[in-house]
Symmetry: D2
Subunit: 109 residues, 4 copies
């Protein structure tokens, strides 16, 4: 993932786009790309979305991940570390015994 | 990232939450978590957001990435491959000569 | 709706919150409230959402509408006129004969 | 607003699009349209957004309002009543004396 992040930053810097990349606008972009991903599921069942839209789903998921990497870069965050730390928090927050099979617990993630 | 994805799926399966994980609802979750990330920047400048909200920004960025990994898992997608392929498309779509420093081009990503 | 918009602006001004209300942050708020509305449908069927969450759905729909009215106020727009004009565009864009029963057309709204 | 809501339902029914309109997909649509509205502010200051994008802002705000009216129709809700009730809640929740000029209070709306 770090190698890939470097390639993305390189792509950006060759085009001189870093000047637009402040965290607030990157967080807006991330949210917009997540919406474009979701758009593939609008008015469709899971099966229809996968059958009709899988190529676009791949591209939009890639855009979401790309903006995660760009935002992490601007904030000097290591994405893997950030995910690992949150997973540890969730393990403490949702003990297996109390959370098993419960949609209610899950909703509070 | 693959190791981390396995740990997340493991976390999920121990709590029997896979039953709720269809792609459409995961795409909704991804969009909701991206909004919660963005919420940290609402009514704040970049500087204020980083100073006051960096811990929450880390957690919400982690949630977005976690849902990316869960959705990719459900759709049998490799996240690194998906990002790499999109980057190749963008390199072809935005030749350096025509795109340099242009916000307009950038907006069409 | 105009009477209601005045009451909302009045509520805001009594609390001196107008200082935070620039259009960009209001557009972020609108998007965040739309996500909170959507959250009621996450992991739920239509029937479950209505049965379990109708009171929250009402409140979040109200928040979305409130931010529409606040944003319109900042931009000097009349919400009814704006909706009327867009409806006229849609009537021209989607002739009944070509659009009837088609999900495809609908998706491009 | 009620007259306008009738015209929108009429537009929809003439095209036979009501078959797609379940509340969950309408809530997704509402969220997507709010993102399209926000997109006009991405990489732009408030002044740039208004100068360069006001026509599109009007159209997207209209789309958000249209989906609010469609969703309210499906759920048998009166939009004005819903907004009025939430305003009353907010008046109780944020007493003027404690809320005046505070961004903190405002964030919890």
């Amino acid at each position: 993932m770090k190698e890939l992040q470097k390639e993305i930053i390189n792509f950006r810097d060759q085009r001189d786009w870093g000047q637009f990349h402040n965290p607030k606008d990157l967080a807006i972009s991330l949210s917009l790309e997540a919406s474009e991903l979701l758009e593939n599921f609008q008015w469709r069942s899971n099966e229809e979305a996968i059958e009709e839209r899988i190529e676009n789903i791949k591209d939009e998921l890639a855009d979401v991940l790309t903006y995660c990497l760009l935002l992490a870069h601007e904030l000097n965050l290591d994405v893997e570390e950030v995910v690992k730390n949150k997973l540890q928090k969730n393990i403490r927050k949702y003990p297996v015994a109390e959370s098993k099979g419960s949609r209610k617990k899950y909703n509070e993630l």
